[in-house]
């Protein structure tokens, strides 16, 4: 159900209304996990301090910058398509995908490093929550990358029109939701130690 004609005195909601409900549902799930992490940290502060000391905050920063840059390119792609520059939109979506690849490579390196040191899912409560929280987010990144690639191909085939690109807007909104969750995960997992 498109909301392109839905007006409330201000600008219409971009994308599809169903995507906004989906985003709210996703945020609720991530919210429960984030609060579970915070409450457990409150109950076991020393364990969390020790666990967080193993993580590298500069790695967390690099992960953040790659995701934010990817989101920036995706937002630019929507602007290009709205201006009738579908090819430019396709290139920008590929740039977003490339930046997201940087996130995946870095995250896999971090996972391999931690697993190599023995900090697996069952090491302690901190790492159980670390793997569940970041792993769940990582799966969302992978799905978002598939969506970005699919939208880039559709852009290349000029499937989106300047005034009929609700599908593109919805896909990019999902990607921004992945960004939105990460900007809160980053300080919680890597920094607040």
């Amino acid at each position: 159900m498109s909301t392109s004609v839905e007006r409330t005195g201000t600008r219409a909601l971009p994308g599809d209304l169903a995507m906004w409900f989906f985003i709210l549902a996703e945020l609720a799930v991530f919210g429960i996990l984030i609060l579970a992490f915070a409450v457990t940290q409150w109950l076991q502060p020393e364990l969390f301090r020790a666990g967080r000391a193993v993580l590298d905050s500069s790695m967390g920063l690099a992960l953040t910058l790659s995701l934010l840059t990817s989101g920036f390119f995706a937002a630019l792609a929507v602007e290009q398509v709205r201006r009738g520059r579908a090819q430019g939109g396709a290139i920008l979506l590929l740039a977003a995908l490339l930046s997201a690849c940087g996130y995946v490579v870095l995250k896999l390196q971090e996972y391999a490093h931690l697993a190599g040191l023995g900090y697996g899912l069952e090491h302690d409560t901190f790492f159980t929550l670390y793997w569940i929280l970041t792993g769940f987010h990582f799966l969302h990144v992978l799905l978002g990358m598939v969506i970005l690639a699919w939208m880039a191909e559709r852009c290349r085939r000029r499937a989106y029109e300047p005034h009929a690109c609700s599908g593109l807007e919805s896909g990019v909104l999902y990607w921004h939701m992945v960004d939105l969750v990460w900007v809160l995960l980053f300080p919680l997992v890597y920094v607040l130690g």
């Binding site: 201000t10 906004w20 409450v39 953040t64 920036f72 937002a75 921004h176 939701m177 809160l184």
Partner: protein, 86 residues
Amino acid sequence: MSASKVLFGCWLALVTLSVGTVLLAHAGPLTPWLAAGVLALALGKAWLIADRFMELRHGPRFWRGLLLSWPVIMTLGVLGTIAAGR
């Protein structure tokens, strides 16, 4: 200002806030005030993403309020547990 320039400014602000988060976190031992500063930067980033990237700045108030309430609730929740542990 063109939409592209606004988005670039937004990205630049997000990068600055992210670097600021790490610098602030290494400024000293974690106190509730330092944690509040770090989380305020995260809240600023969430606000930029929702308002600019997700285009809610001029969107329906209901949806903007709903989406922005999520990072606010998360921030308050996390900050509450940190303050309670002190």
